[in-house]
Subunit: 348 residues, 2 copies
């Protein structure tokens, strides 16, 4: 912990070059990493802290996970979900990524003056249904109202507490060369569902967000005795950014196969129209799990029971420089970088 005397009041990021917050600072890519690495972690972090979707805390002999997320998605309602259900799923999933059993959520609303009460009511109902489905209780809350033009209808924060009942160390430092990389379903639906509404795109079949709680699957993997090395949800920045973060944290190469990555035809088509790469599109019910090769079959069978598209997409390799590579259908290999700039603002 830094003592009170040590603070330098000049911003450590050169403000001549980056004077203001940009949308990309919230995009899950390189600018967001700069904020975290140069501003948040030096002040709030502990030495040698391993970054995670949730903090792991010891409380009188219990190990709990604690996490927070604010949701600013626009539009508030979209095919397959709304800001309320997402605010439950996202935080439940962050707890699950620590291998924790989600138990309790808080909810805090920032409402804009002029929001219809009926809209708020529908969002509350949606949160309750999502919480019941994920078997968590919403136990405490708060409401603030800001003047018209100083918010955007409704922003929601949920924070969550979960119980960690396993003895694994689930984080990038546990990732080993040889580990398999498995994802729990097809990619890109959440981001494309949101963009389709925003851009007024129509497809033959409506693309629905993948927003869903995943704690149940994770707990089943743990109960089956699978030696999970790392778990990470594929939200902002998509699969590409997530794998890059893990490659850097574990100091490994992650090699994935392009042909193995499941993306719906409609999502592929929409990505082409919109100029997006599905590897970078945000998901809200998808995660990557790193397991030793011995556990591949068991992992796939548990995940495919929920979503048939769950699959093995690649392996971890030794490297001198951490990176993510992808082999294409014709055998060409290219580097998959972290998201740079902002692809899809306000997706979550």
């Amino acid at each position: 912990m830094i003592s009170n005397q040590d603070f330098n009041l000049s911003c450590p990021i050169p403000i001549q070059k980056y004077p203001y917050i940009l949308l990309a600072h919230g995009g899950g890519g390189k600018l967001m990493r700069q904020l975290i690495d140069q501003m948040f972690l030096p002040i709030f972090g502990e030495p040698n802290q391993v970054e995670h979707d949730a903090a792991t805390l010891k409380l009188n002999g219990n190990k709990i996970a604690f996490t927070t997320d604010s949701y600013v998605v626009n539009p508030l309602f979209f095919p397959g979900g709304d800001i309320g259900s997402m605010a439950v799923h996202g935080t439940v999933n962050d707890l699950a990524m620590a291998g924790a059993r989600p138990l309790y959520l808080s909810v805090s609303f920032i409402l804009e003056e002029g929001l219809p009460l009926q809209t708020l009511w529908e969002i509350i109902i949606s949160m309750k249904k999502a919480a019941d489905q994920a078997q968590v209780k919403i136990v405490t809350g708060d409401t603030k109202v800001v003047d018209k033009g100083k918010g955007d209808g409704i922003f929601i924060n949920t924070s969550g507490i979960g119980m960690i009942e396993h003895h694994l160390t689930i984080n990038p430092l546990s990732v080993q060369p040889g580990d398999a990389v498995i994802i729990n379903g097809d990619l890109g639906r959440h981001g494309i569902a949101i963009m389709a509404v925003r851009e007024g795109l129509e497809f033959e079949t409506t693309i629905e967000s993948d927003s869903a709680p995943v704690a149940d699957e994770v707990l089943k993997l743990l109960e089956a005795g699978i030696e999970i090395h790392c778990l990470r949800d594929l939200t902002r920045g998509g699969l590409a950014s997530t794998l890059n973060e893990i490659a850097i944290g574990a100091h490994v190469e992650i090699e994935i196969q392009e042909t193995a990555i499941p993306v719906l035809e409609e999502v592929k088509g929409a990505c082409e129209i919109l100029g997006f790469d599905p590897l970078y599109v945000a998901n809200e019910g998808r995660f990557a799990v790193f397991v030793p090769q011995k556990d591949i079959e068991k992992t796939l069978s548990i995940l495919q029971a929920k979503i048939p598209e769950a699959c093995l997409i690649g392996f971890v390799k030794k490297t001198s420089t951490p990176l993510v590579t992808m082999e294409s259908s014709i055998g060409a290999k290219r580097i998959i970088d972290m998201l740079s700039g902002e692809q899809l603002p306000r997706i979550c």
Copy 2:
């Protein structure tokens, strides 16, 4: 818990009469109570739940407190504090009001595109100093960015976890006729400090916000064996609204003495200029504690060691109708109602 089938999709508050969210819905007064009582509690609450600043949860034999608050104060910096220090104090104090030892905080930022990075940096430093002072750790976080014109510089959510180490039931149901009502210092400085900046008022001496952590005092009261019946911070809606909530929860009359209530001369003057009543002005480092008469002296001596203005302001009485009354300096008695409408928007 309500089952999935039971939800009525029509808003229970008549939307012909109240179609939209107003600033007053966030003001801590009657409209906010309507939201809580008619929308939030029926959906998220448990039967016979006692409302509190923090939820009390059991986790494998441990009793913990869990709370959340979003901060939307305007301006971001004011005499005696800023949105960052307040976001720590407020949540630490909500934990303290459950008699809990604050341990861990989460922090989630909603940044508006265009916020100067230097401003964010100063707020982070301020949060860190406040957390060190309150002996809590900020252990997990999140950052979202919204487009320019869809936020207001920065909104902060903090959620907190504290450990409950006592065996008292600290809530309005424990309040008894005969209990003493003690407050820990002078009233009204936070709200007036904010309004003075907004309105460009200048006084001979600058009025500083009372924003401060109070967990230390509360833990000292508990360590001294004081039989605390209820604790409540005097934030939105001020002393008047807080006492009304407790009077209703405990089904008692609370009678306070006008002459006993400490308000700085400058604050009184500012209230006259601005047309405010100090009883309704928000504080961020003040609370009311209800104790049996045997504990009055000990309570005062502990609280006055920190703030000399801490004092006894009244007593609890039996009643058929819950209410708060105040005896004036000339012996006249009047009813002190809950805040109606909005006195000071975006004070916290």
